[in-house]
């Protein structure tokens, strides 16, 4: 048939074109290239499209920004860094702002998927706490600005396990202790976080690239699996408060939200065990092909004001990197968030997760092996 005879080579041609284009795309590897967008403070160049985690910012705040600057702000949501990254890196996503976690910033930066920030257009950077101005994943905040931060630790139902427990990862990884709560423990379903917890218990770094250390951690998780109810990231907090688990590996903000809404909040405690844990920082950044970079810069600057930085934390219960905002936080939150006993081993015991390059696949493989 004549139609089909054209179709085949035409399809092949299209395939070649697209594949060639795909190949071409990858040649733009390397650090975020190009000059920062030339934007004035408070300048806008059109409506804003924000790509964020669900329930991470109050929609009314977005409306407020929209009113103040005369732009429409739309927000779409994603549920993981790993789902967001390919969408942004592939290009033509249409988004002006994204909220990647610390380790993901490194990845986006190296893939050229985020653009360098014009720091002159973001004078409120000065509001950041000192410790957030020069972090490993993005020294000098060249492509990202800290958004919210928190820790990953352990939450327990103190009413159920008794007040005399040792604030250690051993509750999960020491078979003697874990067997007392068999079937009522949960770990995060995240290779880096969970292997990281095991590594911390063993006294190693969460960013180790040593095969031996990783294998030790793997064996530890494999043994712990016996007493686990589940590996769960999204519902760890709810399982705890529902009574399905009494010990849960989880994120600070998630836990606080659940505790505050629970019937008897004092039953529960969250802490970073004495061996240490992970401090994570979520950031806000601008994709390399953002259609409205100036509006994006203005938004970031606006978010860094004391008023709106505080609004963020008061709404989502995570910690703020904004020094100026600290004074405007809700009181009960302040107690929760700034209590030093939360980090049993002191802030030195906290580590940031750093992308380990080629070794990443080792982490995910080890985790899968440990899970069985």
């Amino acid at each position: 048939m004549s139609i089909r005879n054209i179709q085949r080579p035409a399809a092949a041609l299209c395939a070649l074109v697209l594949v060639a284009a795909a190949c071409g795309g990858d040649d733009d590897d390397g650090a975020a290239e190009g000059e920062p967008a030339t934007c004035e403070v408070g300048e806008t160049d059109g409506d804003l499209a924000l790509y964020n985690w669900a329930e991470y910012i109050d929609e009314e705040e977005l409306a407020a920004f929209g009113e103040e600057y005369g732009v429409q702000v739309t927000m779409d949501t994603y549920d993981s860094n790993e789902a967001m990254q390919p969408i942004i890196s592939a290009g033509n996503s249409g988004y002006d702002l994204i909220v990647p976690s610390d380790y993901m910033v490194t990845i986006l930066k190296s893939a050229g998927s985020v653009q360098p920030l014009n720091q002159d257009a973001i004078p409120n950077l000065a509001n950041l706490l000192d410790e957030f101005t020069d972090l490993d994943y993005d020294p000098g905040n060249t492509v990202s600005v800290p958004y919210q931060w928190g820790t990953t630790g352990m939450a327990v139902n103190a009413a159920a396990i008794g007040p005399d427990f040792e604030p250690s990862w051993g509750l999960i990884f020491d078979p003697e202790q874990a067997s007392q709560f068999s079937g009522q423990i949960s770990l995060l379903n995240d290779p880096r976080e969970t292997m990281g917890a095991a590594l911390k218990y063993l006294g190693y770094s969460v960013n180790t690239t040593s095969e031996d250390e990783l294998n030790e951690a793997k064996d530890l998780v494999a043994t712990a699996r016996e007493h686990l109810a589940a590996f769960d990231t999204d519902q760890a907090d709810e399982l705890l408060v529902n009574g399905e688990t009494v010990i849960a590996h989880g994120y600070s903000g998630d836990m606080f939200v659940q505790f505050l809404e629970a019937e008897s909040p004092d039953d529960y405690q969250y802490f970073v065990p004495k061996e240490g844990g992970v401090r994570w920082v979520d950031t806000i950044a601008i994709p390399f092909d953002a259609p409205h970079p100036c509006s994006a810069h203005t938004f970031i600057n606006w978010l860094l004001t004391a008023e709106h930085g505080a609004a963020l934390t008061n709404w989502n219960y995570y910690s703020t990197p904004n020094e100026a905002a600290l004074d405007l936080l809700d009181e009960e939150l302040v107690t929760f968030l700034t209590d030093p006993s939360l980090v049993v081993g002191g802030t030195e015991s906290l580590e940031q997760l750093v992308d380990t390059g080629d070794f990443e696949t080792n982490y995910s493989d080890a985790f899968i092996e440990a899970k069985g």
Binding site: M1, I3, R4, Q7, A11, C14, A15, L18, V19, A22, C23, D26, D29, S80, E82, A83, Q85, P86, S89, T106, I107, S110, A111, S186, N189, P191, R225, L228, A229, A230, F231, D232, N242, G243, E244, D355, G357, D358, E360, T361, S364, D365, I368, E369, K371, G372
Partner: protein, 308 residues
């Protein structure tokens, strides 16, 4: 003209027509016309799938021969089959076998539950039938995730299932985070995919054949095995494919109801693409999986004498 002359002319005309139609050229032309018609019918779907499916698939196929660069991007320079070599990994083999087993079990259970149901459905009056069918589909218009989480509540520590087993005297049994829970979740998720094609196929069967079988003194069981079942084969095959295949790739249910304690193929492939950011391996595994399933289907259909 007289009637007789009319009839004679008619006969002559008919003879001429027959002579025309009986020629091999005419037959060939007719066959070609049929073939063209068939092609044109298929064309819209064919063209659509070539552009919006086959083409993207080729892109990913190319990726399966690439390598993962340091930060999880894909390096398309230099082709290799390293990604395919991961199949030799014992972890991957384990995962594959486990997933095959689970998918088979799910399909069988769906068949056992779904067939009698589809038969019952097909033998109701049209009004009742339609209503029942709609009521089968309605649960599936509730969000998939929400349904899974509802099962979590049902199977949990204080859930209804636990209360039910207590009532029956088995004591409070919590099924959550066990393999049974995963099974329940998978069967729940795929049952209508089995019921629909089965129903469509059974409904079409000529009831007289079944009655004839009974008239000829076959037992109910024999009628089922030797008449009904073979006649409903297309539905059984379609339903089995629609259940087996997605079960093989399922990962949400095993995570939510199984506590992510065992890794299945679906999760593994997702992990490769998203968490490990190893697209070449993710792509390679997907193609291997598809090849296996494709081969199995070809073998199955050939045995059936169908046209694949």
């Amino acid at each position: 003209m007289t009637v007789l002359e009319d009839a004679n002319d008619g006969a002559a005309l008919r003879a001429d027509a027959e002579a025309l139609v009986a020629t091999p050229e005419f037959e060939r032309a007719a066959a070609r016309a049929e073939s063209r018609r068939g092609f044109l019918l298929a064309l819209p779907a064919y063209a659509y799938l070539v552009l919006f499916f086959a083409l993207p698939l080729v892109i990913v196929f190319v990726y399966s021969f690439a390598t993962r660069n340091q930060f999880g991007g894909t390096d398309l320079s230099g082709w290799n089959v390293d990604a395919y070599r991961t199949l030799g990994d014992p972890i991957v083999r384990n995962i594959l076998l486990r997933s095959l087993w689970l998918a088979t079990l799910t399909t069988v259970i769906c068949l056992v539950l779904g067939y009698p149901f589809a038969y019952y459905l097909a033998t109701r009056t049209p009004t009742v039938r339609n209503l029942m069918l709609v009521f089968v589909m309605i649960p599936f218009w509730a969000n998939f995730l929400v349904r899974n989480y509802a099962w979590r509540v049902l199977l949990g520590r204080d859930g209804l299932v636990s209360d039910a087993t207590e009532l029956v005297g088995l004591g409070p049994r919590e099924f959550l985070f066990t393999n049974t829970a995963v099974m329940i979740g998978l069967v729940y998720g795929f049952l209508p995919f089995m019921i629909l094609p089965l129903y469509a196929s059974i409904e079409r069967i000529d009831g007289a054949l079944l009655e004839a079988s009974r008239d000829l003194y076959a037992s109910g069981w024999q009628t089922f095995l030797k008449v009904l079942l073979p006649l409903s084969r297309p539905g059984v095959v379609a339903g089995s494919i629609l259940v087996f295949v997605p079960s093989l790739g399922a990962y949400v249910t095993p995570e939510i109801l199984g506590g992510a304690k065992t890794t299945l193929l679906g999760s593994y492939i997702v992990t490769q693409f998203l968490t490990a950011r190893n697209w070449p391996v993710g792509a390679a595994l997907s193609f291997v999986l598809m090849a296996i399933m494709g081969a199995a289907m070809i073998v199955y259909f050939r045995n059936e004498g169908r046209n694949l």
